[in-house]
Subunit: 502 residues, 2 copies
């Protein structure tokens, strides 16, 4: 039997989480305390006697106050805690300038370099739609392209339809409409699509091609075009256009690129308390390595980091970044208030079952995956990142909406940590899945790419695991297939549309 073990994040914490798989039984003696009841894995235990109203501290911050007296050895969960008020968005200060990180120059990957200088990790033909009306036809055409054309172009990885439910029946001139429109625009420009934008339009939709692509129209098939007599003519137009792009894409090949050309989007979902103990800290170390190598790392999930905004502001690289962080938080506060959303609703039943008592604790565990580097930029929802380094890409925490917005921001590789397990992945970028615990990694052996639970079960440290994640990112960016790619599964886009439908 493995010895009983608790994990404390910082010496100032007065709670620690149970490391052992299966949890620890009542009466277990560990680190000088005796457990008052069975405590599940990843759940918190009081390390000292806490008086009613005392601050409960994890990651060095107050995650709540004791609702009643909590004796040492007691299981601490959402029923034991009163949640603190969210930090105000005023009076927050940047920390002192940090020393520049040691640059890492020796790391490279094999990528597809584009004309605009960006580098893709896959060579995919994407077919953009201006409006959902056409997606039945486009899905049919994509199935035909996959079956009939793709086998002839072995250097093209895939053909994907950028299906969405936007484009008509929406308040296209409402203030928030720019978010879904620029999202669709920027997704079509994702480096993994090699600049090969082709689009299918209906013809009468509100989101006209010229509005979606104001600079230059993409290669366009319009279903209402008078030259189309019957369904097969529409399919033939799409196939003919697609083949032109397949020919071009097929001539591309991978070349050695510095790790500074990586654009990695980070996310967590189906989280548990081990997310903030194993996978997220290890991913944070990998994020530091990418940023030190000059690459780009995006973290997101406004509602999850909102309660740690004071920490993010301290890490801002400039006053402009600090202001941009606060501005995104304020926008989201107003958006949620307009919909009368309950802030505490972010924590899912699965989160609580996994040991996360509330959004404050979840925020700490979520932020830790961003590592320790200064935040050098902020990307508004739907915009494309225009700089390198560690970026806060402001998105909802919703896994699939966040992924869609990171795709628009230019992500070419997705890393997703999960404790409870989710099969979510994007077909547009390789999506690496990190299990927070070894039992999930064992059970979902062909769905989880990396077992970060080995920090608990196999003597790995956060640093050694972080280094392995970094190396897996480089290998995957170079063409090594992810679990989801091997299985051939993926999720569709899910746009963020804060504006009304009409």
């Amino acid at each position: 039997m493995t010895p009983a073990r608790l994990i404390r994040m910082l010496p100032s914490d007065n709670v620690a989480v149970v490391a052992n798989e299966g949890g620890l039984a009542a009466g277990t003696e560990v680190e000088g305390i005796t457990l008052a009841s069975h405590v599940p894995q990843a759940h918190k235990v009081a390390l000292t006697d806490l008086a009613r109203g005392a601050r409960v501290i994890r990651y060095g911050v107050t995650i709540g106050t004791a609702r009643d007296a909590i004796p040492a050895g007691t299981w601490v969960n959402e029923a034991s805690l009163d949640m603190p008020a969210p930090p105000a968005l005023t009076g927050l200060a940047r920390g002192p300038d940090q020393p520049q990180p040691e640059p890492l120059t020796c790391y490279t990957f094999e990528g597809y370099r584009n004309a605009d200088g960006s580098v893709g990790t896959r060579n995919i033909l994407a077919i953009t739609n201006t409006v959902h009306c056409v997606s039945g036809v486009v899905d049919h055409a994509v199935a035909r392209i996959r079956a009939e054309l793709l086998p002839r172009y072995p250097h093209v990885d895939d053909v994907v339809a950028l299906d969405h439910t936007y484009g008509c029946g929406v308040a296209i001139d409402a203030p928030d409409a720019e978010i879904p429109i620029r999202t669709l625009h920027n997704i079509a420009r994702n480096p993994n699509f090699g600049g090969a934008t082709m689009a299918v339009s209906l013809g009468c939709e509100k989101l006209q091609p010229a509005r979606l692509f104001p600079e230059a129209l993409p290669d366009l098939v319009t279903l209402q075009d008078e030259s189309h007599t019957g369904f097969e003519a529409m399919i033939a137009s799409i196939l003919t256009t697609a083949e032109r792009h397949l020919i071009r894409l097929d001539q591309r090949h991978r070349e050695t690129c510095p790790a500074s050309d990586l654009v990695v989007g980070l996310q967590c979902g189906g989280s548990d308390a081990l997310s903030g103990v194993t996978a997220n800290p290890a991913l944070g170390h990998a994020a530091d390595l990418i940023v030190q190598a000059g690459g780009t790392v995006m973290f997101s999930e406004v509602t999850e980091v909102r309660d740690g905004i004071d920490q993010l502001v301290r890490r801002a690289a400039s006053d402009e970044v600090a202001e941009a962080l606060l501005s995104e938080m304020a926008w989201y506060d107003a958006y949620l208030a307009r919909g009368q959303a309950d802030r505490s609703a972010n924590t899912t039943p699965g989160n609580k079952k996994g040991g996360l008592s509330n959004i404050v604790e979840k925020a700490m565990g979520s932020i830790v995956k961003s590592g320790s580097m200064p935040i050098s930029g902020v990307v508004s929802p739907g915009r494309r990142a225009e700089q390198k380094g560690l970026l806060f890409t402001a998105t909802p925490a919703s896994d699939f909406i966040c992924g869609t917005l990171q795709l628009a921001a230019g992500m070419t590789l997705h890393v997703f940590t999960t404790g409870r397990g989710t099969p979510y992945s994007l077909p547009h970028v390789p999506t690496l899945k990190l299990a927070t615990r070894s039992d999930l990694a064992r059970r979902w052996h062909d769905l989880m790419d990396i077992d970060a639970g080995r920090i608990i079960t196999a003597g790995e440290t956060i640093e050694t695991m972080g280094q392995q994640i970094f190396e897996t990112i480089l290998a995957t960016a170079s063409g090594q297939k992810t679990c989801a790619e091997r299985l051939g599964i993926g999720n569709q886009l899910a746009l963020f549309n804060p504006g009304p439908v009409t």
Copy 2:
């Protein structure tokens, strides 16, 4: 050459639309006036001299006022008109009680009767998801079921995944969250799915199965279930569960049902001015026949009928119905105001190109498809219709969101009119497509089921065309395939979620 022809809807109208394909040339003499310029088909011509500020009247109602003086024979379009203010939602009165329509009792169709008394027009296995996270796995499973299982169950028409992007990362306790939740709940109960609800859940999502199905849990596969080791185990669980339902569904057969068991959802999209002249009035006649036969007809599209609310209230069968109509309009007014939506934005570029100057004219053309019967009920978005007759099912005008909500309301057959042409259809219910004009019907010969343009090109009347539509509805409900079913195309669900994502 066909003689020049204008179509005036009512004798009190002071504009009429050009009937001729290709429009009419400048100088054409028709009905005593001379055209001042080329006027495209379906566009309006002034029948008399109109002073600046004069009311421009079509369908007997004011669709705008003349921005400048408009001489007889002038093309009247959106540049010529100032839009009237929308009718206030107070001070509107019901009309006098109408005589009960002559009952039609001789019409039947061959449908699938369900245990709850409802009747399906197709025999489909639907797989509901609680959350988008699982949809990559479910899509994969559905492809396997289609290929491996479905051929063994010849009496089952199809297997469809009820994919959506809801279920987590949403403000599930916000006031508006009940709309998407009840929509998903009621779609699973659609009569075309034979009561065979099966669902795939992740396990940790906010929208837990017990919340989605409060009365009784459906046959459920939970991906996070500890019994699932690896992806194939998840797929095997879904396939095993699906096969139980396929065996049951395969034993069903069609039986003769009265037309009163029909539940038909009406919609128009990609409209032009002929929508309100050919297809919609003919569909309105078919709607009258269905209602006279005791069946259910749903019309929708709040933003399109908003400017004709005074007419709808006059047709309300009771004070309760009138109040419910006004309450749905008021809810939507507030929803649009919250998002700062521009009311005039409903009219698409395609609408204007097709001759519809503004939302008022579009409203008149949209409402005419509901026929002339009293409105006997109102269904709020996402709710299931609980009565028969002509119902106003309050939905956005967005084609795909409206279709999704009509599906939740219990629609078993969809009729969709279009002037500009759209390939939209739902895979869950047969979707009949009516072209407003013969040139579209000719060009899209395998996408359009009925050519209502024959009212202009082949001497059909609104009544004879309406009768043909009614008979096609009965044949289609009995199993005759639609164009979209023959081609195997269809659109995904698009939920109406007025609440915030988190």
